[in-house]
Symmetry: C2
DNA sequence: AACGTTATTGCAATTAATTGCAATAACGGA
DNA sequence: TCCGTTATTGCAATTAATTGCAATAACGTT
């Protein structure tokens, strides 16, 4: 469940310093909702300690993204959201009409990633894959409207 | 090559009004580089006409994204970039170490998207798929360093 | 071609995200 | 355990992106 120690260890192994701020941010991210904004994390950490600053939250989250421990994406409202995978490999499907985020397990994902690596040498982070499109609900509604939503 | 008319027609069909601003933005996006920021588009349009505003550029680009005609992603420097597919279906591979964006054609992509639709009903936009990971170069360098980059 | 409806624009203001820099604190070595 | 080096933090300032609202203009209808 809690990857906290894994994440902290990963950072330490890579030569980064482990500060109380980073620990709190990582714990909050790991235990929190599936998708959180930097502001969300900041507010939650703030309840535990006053020794935290929004800039630090942004920097730490971005560091985690850079090191492949979390991912960052643009939510449908244009704001940045952060996420870290808790259970296995699944795809995030963001509907560009309603903004809802669905999850899916897809057999072909691992083979796809392997094919990418074989043909290009690029090692894709399979924990953090997000696709955009239109969900079933919105798709049906669109058909009946045939007009802008 | 130029999808401009396709895009404009698509918007018109969906009931959106076609303004000179939207036309210029779409043309700029369609003819420009693979990945551009809103500011880039704004500057280029500005050279053609003074009747343009950065807020309008953001709004139009976001509209295109919302309608599936373009996609928006976070570049490695954290800024938002916009892109529209010109030639066929390819994957964008963003290296989270060096920030470079590679392209790849992968056979398994279409089957994957079909599998998603079959199992979940979600219609993914296959023109705009971006994965993050580590490219071959950075991967090799990482191995030799075994230290933070 | 002129009119009315209403989406879109531009501007100004606001919010979100990033950055430079001095002060602080983590961590390896003495 | 203390010290020195240097990454990290917090603050303030800046840049990026979004939004409310009045003025404008697109487009269907007459």
């Amino acid at each position: 469940m809690t990857h906290c120690h894994t994440f902290i260890q990963a950072l330490r192994n890579q030569g980064y310093r482990i500060t109380p701020q980073r620990e709190m941010i990582i714990e909050t991210l790991a235990h929190g909702d599936q998708h959180v904004s930097a502001e969300d994390v900041y507010q939650q950490v703030l309840q535990r300690s006053k020794a935290i600053n929004l800039a630090t939250v942004y920097r730490t989250l971005d560091l985690l993204v850079e090191r492949g421990l979390a991912s960052r994406f643009v939510a449908s409202d244009g704001k940045l959201m952060y996420t870290t995978e808790k259970h296995g490999t699944h795809l995030h499907l963001t509907c560009r009409i309603c903004g809802k985020i669905y999850q899916a397990e897809v057999d072909l994902l691992i083979p796809l990633i392997q094919q990418i690596e074989t043909t290009t040498g690029f090692k894709a982070d399979f924990e953090h894959i997000a696709l955009t499109g239109v969900c079933q609900n919105c798709c049906n509604q669109n058909l009946s409207e045939l007009q802008k939503g």
